[in-house]
Amino acid sequence: MKSLQKLKLILILFFALTLSQSCDRDDLVDQFDFDDSGYAEYDDSDEDWPDDDFDNDSSDDDDSYDSEGSESRITAYSVSGTTITKSQDYNVSGQLKEAQDDVAKHQEIWELVKKIVPESYMSKMGEFEIYWGEADGSAGYVVEMNPDLSVWKMGIAIDYAYEGGFNADGELAHTIIHEFGHILTLDNTQLDSSISESNCQNYYPGEGCANKESYINQLHSRFWADIWSDFQSSQDSESGMQSFYSKHSDRFVTQYAATNPGEDIAEVFATFVTSSTNSNANTIASQKLQLMFDYSELIELRQFIRGNTSSARGRSYLPVAGSWKKANTIGNPKKGCVHRI
C-alpha cells in the first residue's frame, strides 16, 4: 500500500514538472539567448554601450552627390572616353590600403566594365569608384552626379569583386550589368528631373519624372499599377516588404526586383542580358523580359554585352541568368532551382 502511495506521488510530481515546463515554453515565445537566466537584459556597463565620444568622425568629402560609402571609399577615378584616371586616393589603412595599392585589380574591374558598357554610353559615366563593400554588404551602386541626370557615378566593391576569385560565377558581371541598367533607365533621356513628384503625371522613381514612353514608365504602368497600393502599404517595415514579395513572387525575376520599380527594371535588364534565350513562360516576370525584347536598341545592347563577354573558347564572364546570390529564381522562389530562360 505504501509503495502504491509512493508511485502516486512520483506520478504527480512528474506531471507537475511537465506542466511547469510547458508553462515556461508558452511564455518564452522566441526569446533570444544571450542571457541564460531567461531575462534578456542589456548590460549597463560602458563596454556594451557605445561610447558617447564619437563625434570626431572626419568626413573628408563633401560631394553633394555622394551620399554613401565615406568610410569605405578607396579610390576615385574620373572617366574620359573609355579611360579612367585616378582623381583621389582616400585615407585608408589595413586591408583597404592593400586594396588601394593594388591598382591592377582596379584596372581589371574597369576592363570588365568596358566589356559591358558600350563606348557610346561611357559619356554618361563621369566617375568610377573602388570601395570596400563589407562595411554595409553592398556590391555596387550608382548615383547621379548632375541634377539633370546626364552624368552618373558607378561604385564597385573590390572585396566582393574578388570574392572566390575575380568575377567568380559572373557575380561582378551581374553587378555591372545591373548598375548599367540603372543608368540606362534613369538617365536624362528617360526621366525629367525638373518635374517634381507632385507635378509628375507618370511614374516617379525618385530621381525625376519618367517620360511616358520611358522603359520604367512602361514597366510600371503594365506590371505595377494593379499592385501599387499593396506595394505602398508594405513600405511600413522590411517584414512588410518581405510579405509583399512572398505574395507576388511570380511577378519578379528576383527578390531584389520587388524592392521598387527602379530595381525591378535593372534586374529585368540583367536577366534579359544574361539569359541565353527568350522566355516563353506565361508569368508576369517573363512578360517583363519580353518587354525588353520589344526594344531593338535593348536587343543590340544585349548582343553587344553577350558578344563581348564570351570568348571563342567558350568562356563567358556572364553568370547563368538568375544564378547570382540571393537572386536565384525567376518568379517563384519556392521552386529553388535555376531557370534557364
Binding site: 506542466l19 537584459e41 542589456y42 568622425d57 550608382v142 548615383v143 534613369l186 517595415s237 518581405q242
Partner: protein, 139 residues
C-alpha cells in the same frame, strides 16, 4: 491533500519564474522603429522595434543567419540614454537615393528618417550607433 498542495506550489512557482521572460508587448506603445533595407549584395536586412516600456523586438529578415522574432529588454538607464539622445535636436539631410545601397530607416514620434548610415554625423550618428549596438547585442 498534502500532495495536491505540493503540486499546486510547484506549478505556481514554475509559472512565477517565467514572468521574468521577455514577451512581445501587447499594450506598450512603440517608441522607435529602426530598420536596414535591402541592397544589391549581402546587406543584413532587419526590423527593430523598441517599446516605451523598454521591450525590444528584433526581426532578422535576410543575410543574418537567423529567422523569427527575438525579444529583449533595455534597462531603465539604457532606455533613458536613448530617449535623451533622441530628445536632442539633430538634422537629417533630405534623402537622396543612391541606387543599390542599403537604406536605414528611423521612425520615432512623428519623424520618419531615411538615410545611409555611413554618411551621417553628429547627433544622428550617435543615435544610430546606439541602435546598432542594440542590434549587435541581439544578433
Amino acid at each position: 491533500m498534502k500532495h495536491l498542495s505540493l503540486v499546486f506550489i510547484l506549478i505556481m512557482f514554475s509559472c512565477k519564474t517565467s514572468e521574468n521572460v521577455v514577451k512581445e508587448p501587447t499594450d506598450s506603445e512603440v517608441f522607435i522603429y529602426y530598420s536596414k533595407g535591402r541592397c544589391l549584395g549581402k546587406c543584413p536586412v532587419y526590423d527593430l522595434w523598441i517599446h516605451k516600456d523598454g521591450t525590444v523586438v528584433y526581426q532578422p529578415i535576410e543575410n543574418i543567419g537567423k529567422k523569427g522574432k527575438y525579444f529583449a529588454k533595455l534597462s531603465p538607464t539604457q532606455l533613458d540614454a536613448l530617449q535623451a539622445a533622441l530628445a536632442e535636436d539633430f538634422e537629417v539631410a533630405s534623402f537622396k537615393r543612391v541606387r543599390d545601397l542599403p537604406v536605414t530607416r528611423l521612425k520615432h514620434g512623428l519623424k520618419d528618417h531615411k538615410y545611409y548610415a555611413s554618411k551621417i554625423e553628429g547627433q544622428l550618428k550617435k543615435v544610430n550607433t546606439l541602435l546598432e549596438s542594440i542590434v549587435s547585442s541581439i544578433s
